[in-house]
Symmetry: C2
Subunit: 403 residues, 2 copies
């Protein structure tokens, strides 16, 4: 129990304590931790000598603290729990609590490289059925390795930042002889869960699944905005490029791995058995429940526990070739989709590429996103001691194209 | 004429003046300019009040200076020319010249995002013929847009850094039922030319071809090391990932755009005419002659002037969707291949995927790279006043795999 009044249902109680970066009244950015409807100012606590701060917290990004490593992460989290639960600290700590409503939440870390996977079997199967109705829905490699690719790190933005509808080349009708230039006509979302590396790895030193916790700081929600018409035209043979690179949104709070320990569940059985470098005996499914809302109306509830490839497998694969990790490397899961229509994580699937429009509770219909639409993705998970862990939300509103 | 004794054939004369980052005797890194067989220490010139230095040159990367913009670049270049040609400056400047043999050349800039294109028609056609012998060699989109994808920025390394043979999943024989794990068996090079952005652009503000010089600082040579067996297995449907992400090497000297003005030539005619956002009336072919050597023996001499898509078209395309540029964004051309076998820019093409081994002048044969092989790519171009501009070289030696 904290000495603060924290709504136990808020999802931001003492078992969560996610890290973020905030700014108040135009002052310099600082690192904070969410507790209830407040932000605990870690830079202020550091100045007051209440937490160890090696230049980590009077900063505009979590990167310094993320690079400090697991021992520092655990020590800081334990100390914050102590400060918030032992009432003797109340008078010293209370001045460093700021209402979250009074601050601006910034992008929590500087993104080094951004990798996007494709790890939901339901999503990959649906996409295969939509685009290759005659063939096998999954490519031959899909059950042998977590398929992924690099995205654009420089356009990863914090939740709340608007998304300008991209312009580019696309065929308005698939049968058109030539492409035309204009606004994206099939603007979509992808509801994803990402993890961020804190501790670098060395070249030619892969990170096996058992070392996942030594390198990874925590998890965020990701909306990998996608221009489906640009993608259909551009992506052969080298994969998505402009259809993804205009914007990727992440949630402002990074939930530490430790907060998600109680959410770990077995992941789906893998057949064929993966090669040894991808194997782990530990359960690394995560019981995160996602919710997607368009203009405040729920349209889907994907479960992350059904993901075929797990985060430690993704990281082991991404480094098996000797590629090194940097602090701030972001790895997203790919669209999280479950087995039923109500659990699909993007409009491409929800509307079957526009063939089956989605009727929203307010009576309007959508195939893809319209200008002015606001998309919000939320998630929560079971925490320790019966608590709920809220991953917060990632949201964005579509602005009209400039072309 | 400079007051230094510069070998006019060195390619590093007064018309070149490329920028790099160097370290001497373990001291802190600094920015320098190559002249003949010396490095001109710009940090030292700045301290002496001989060049303007707003914190640009006592730095371990060119990023600060690259962000300063075209006016600053032009002014600095003009001032260096003045200092090196007016003998009255000799006594003041000479102490800041360091033999290049006495310094370590570092990666010249911090890479923000790394994009790799696929802009040689000869290369794309050869690859299409090798992998899809029954179909059209070029995909339908190829002549409408410069196909590209994002690579891994964190593993871009300076020339001279060894390359450890990557491990990963691949099918040893294409007919194998399942993949196996082991060292790459088809390790390859890709001889490319890259450009680096200095001045950022804003979200949703594309950079048209006419604004290329306002954003781009200069050019480097690139070797985009490639694991062809990993690539063949992993790359459907989202493109190359681990087959490229283990290492990409760049040359240590960044040649300013201004030094390459005399190398500009018309690029190949484009049919169909590109969409308006890709059009430019200015000639943007570049008459760079590349040379590829394996263990010191020339194996190919690709010409960059035959590239179908030009650098300003690549940049216009990469930003047409509103993706913003950051200082340090690196854009590589894709493999530079000419129409004849002697002008192919990778071993995949030179040996037709291993079917036609290459006989080196020393009598040894290669399909793909062997451990211990050293690959060097060089390039030169015509400069102003009849000079030769040398882009320097990008080199690397293959170390054995760790698996």
């Amino acid at each position: 129990m904290t000495w603060l009044e924290v709504d136990e249902d808020s999802g931001f109680g003492i078992e969560n304590l996610p890290y973020g970066v905030f700014r108040r009244d135009g002052a310099a950015a600082r690192v904070g931790v969410a507790i209830g409807d407040r932000v605990l100012d870690l830079a202020g606590l550091g100045e007051a000598g209440l937490v160890e701060d090696r230049g980590w917290f009077a900063a505009d990004a979590l990167n310094g603290f993320m690079a400090a490593g697991r021992t520092a992460w655990q020590a800081n989290r334990a100390r914050i729990r102590e400060l918030l639960t032992d009432a003797r600290h109340r008078d010293a700590v209370a001045p460093h609590l700021v209402p979250v409503a009074d601050v601006e939440l910034l992008r929590p870390f500087e993104v080094a490289d951004y990798v996007d996977f494709y790890s939901s079997e339901h999503h990959a199967t649906n996409v295969g059925r939509i685009f290759r109705p005659q063939g096998e829905p999954l490519m031959p490699n899909w059950k042998h390795l977590p398929v992924g690719y690099h995205g654009r790190a420089g356009t990863v933005q914090v939740s709340g930042t608007p998304v300008v509808r991209p312009c580019g080349q696309r065929k308005v009708a698939p049968s058109d002889a030539a492409p035309s230039y204009g606004p994206c006509l099939k603007l979509d979302i992808e509801a994803e869960v990402g993890f961020v590396a804190g501790v670098p790895s060395s070249p030619a030193r892969p990170v096996p699944p058992r070392a996942f916790r030594d390198h990874v700081f925590g998890f965020v929600l990701v909306n990998d905005w996608s221009a489906r018409d640009l993608q259909a035209w551009e992506a052969q043979p080298l994969g998505p490029f402009l259809s993804k690179s205009f914007a990727t949104s992440i949630s402002p709070w990074v939930v530490p791995i430790e907060a998600l320990e109680a959410a770990r569940v077995p992941s789906p059985a893998q057949d064929p058995a993966p090669l040894p470098y991808l194997r782990t005996d530990e359960p690394w499914g995560l019981d995160l429940r996602l919710e997607i809302l368009i203009n405040g109306q729920p349209v889907s509830r994907p479960g992350f526990d059904g993901m075929y490839w797990t985060p430690p497998q993704q990281l082991a694969h991404a480094t098996v070739n000797g590629a090194s990790l940097r602090t701030g490397d972001l790895f997203a899961s790919g669209t999280v989709s479950g087995p039923t229509r109500e659990e699909r994580g993007c409009l491409l699937e929800l509307t079957w590429n526009g063939a089956e429009p989605l009727e929203l509770p307010d009576g309007t219909k959508r195939t893809f996103l319209e200008d002015g639409d606001t998309v919000t993705i939320r998630a929560s998970a079971p925490g320790a001691n019966g608590a709920t862990i809220d991953l917060g939300e990632v949201t964005g509103t579509i602005r009209p194209a400039h072309c």
